[in-house]
Amino acid sequence: MLLNTQENNELYKYSEKEIVGELHLILSSQLFARSTVLSNFLKYIVHETLDNRTENLKEYTIAVNALGKSSSFNPQVDAIVRIHAGRLRRLLNEYYTSNGNSNTIRIEVVKGTYVPVFRPRLEYNTNNVSENEKPIKQFSRSKLTLAVLPFRNLCPNNDYQFFVDGFGEELTRIFSNFQEIAVVAHYSTRKYISEPEDIRSIGSDLGAHYLITGSVKRSTHEIRVNICLVKTLDGMQVWSQTYNNPLNLDTLIDIQDQIVNEVCSLLGGFYGIIIHEDSKTHRKTLPSIHSFDAALWNYYFHMNFSLEAYNQTRQALEEAMVQSPNYATGLAMLSELYLDAYSLGFPTVDEPVLKAYELAKKAIKIDPHCQYAYQEFAWANIYLKRKEEAIKAMESCMALNPSSVSAMGAIGFGLACVGEYKRADIMLTNSLDLNPNCPWWFFLGFFLARFKAGRYKEALIYAEKIEVPDVFLDPLTKVLAKAELGMVEEAQRDLKNLTQNFPEIVENLEEHLSSFLLDTEIIEKMVQGIQKAQRATA
């Protein structure tokens, strides 16, 4: 687990003398005596931290001040500090499992930061673990991993076992269609029916970040299914739901299908509770780009669309693609990011649309079952003004996993952009009903459909929900709806915001809108709307 080092150091207060003493012990050990580079590295970061200059602990300052690099050192092209940091982390671990085993303080360099942590020696000692206690291993998988434990049968006489077993199997099957989350095979979880264990141990054994657990009970007339989502890192319950249904043998399978679909829609997918919860945890504890998973940055950016998050997401994704050039979902994410940057006026690569098209195409070639890739292929076609190809790709996307609420929303918005408002409305509504954790552009999809139909009051309700200050569509939709409703003063305020913060976009509004909207009528209507608001202001 990665730590928030500042909080951690505040939690364990040691005197400077104690920490310097520990540093000397480490540096005088044989392990460190062999490496001047790592000794200098450690000495520098510890002293900077003790002198309250942690803000200086960046790759560049470490390179220049601790490793003797010249002032022209460029951390963008030279990774030596990161590599030495990894070596230092491992050497410290080795030290504390050998010579430093009994030291009272531990100096650690955790991933994601160069600020060292000063902690007490771990109380936990494997030699003292009783036979019944199982140590909880730290584990990490490159992908967010879920396991569905067998549901407990709490019915009298173990009735309805087929129904109870079906939940684990069905949930595992459907979750395996979501590319964002890896699912442990149900067979691997079956042993926990007879051997109940601590959730954290099970998570550790299976390498799963989240577990779904559940139980089935029945009364004379009713069958009750409880389902929970638990985070294995701390054993905390993240979500739970009880489903009550009339007891009828003929409809049991239908009830199961309905519950399973609802749970998968709510928890799975890019905007589901699992990724939402995980990104919250990571955002809070992992401020460094090097340690933050690129996919979670991507999620974070798509929830707030800030320029800062965009820059970090782009860097993280581009770095991830250098490491794993055949990661289809990563290629699709990068394709999406280039298109978003293009339409929002953020700095991006040359020829972003063509580049995005090529990336999505490559992603499909690598993995023809990658739903995300089809989604972005559709979007690239929208930007290339190829409506038919876009719709075809959207249909292929939904066919791959109809349960994916996030894909449903993205495709719904895509349909709104190509002018298929009715279909868009249905998909966006369904998606939002199944999972309320949606990004702002869902509301833009609703806005477009209402604005086109002249339902301005409803359009304004959706415009008010678009709260993304770095995006011109935030003030634009508000101006448009308010101007049509005759709310002159309010429209003026939003217009001022729009013209002050996005002058270049206002000047070339038609061009910007037509980059992602294929319905020329709505573009004309929006341009006229702005002119109307400008006239009212004048």
């Binding site: 070596r87 584990f139 990490s140 490159s142 794993s324």
Partner: protein, 81 residues
């Protein structure tokens, strides 16, 4: 990831299965492998350019050697457990 495994396997061909296992299950091992790949790519890149970075290259060559030893120690350690 596959690229990483291949280059590590080509370095220690007798440990192919163990490398795959550790790469999947041990974050620490994966980090060392990634650093090793980073090092070798940097060295290759700089060698293509010129001799002007000779001193830096020496440092990278040293680090690469250290990482190779670390990988080998992990492979041997895991084999004996």
């Amino acid at each position: 990831m596959e690229k990483s495994i291949h280059s590590i396997v080509s370095l220690f061909p007798d440990f192919e299965e163990r490398i795959e296992f550790l790469f999947e299950s041990d974050e620490n091992f994966r980090d060392i492998c990634k650093d090793y790949i980073l090092c070798t790519s940097y060295i290759m890149e700089q060698k293509k350019n010129s001799n002007k970075y000779r001193i830096q290259l020496e440092e990278y060559e040293d680090v690469k050697q250290n990482l190779e030893e670390e990988i080998f120690r992990m492979l041997s350690k895991n084999e004996s457990t």
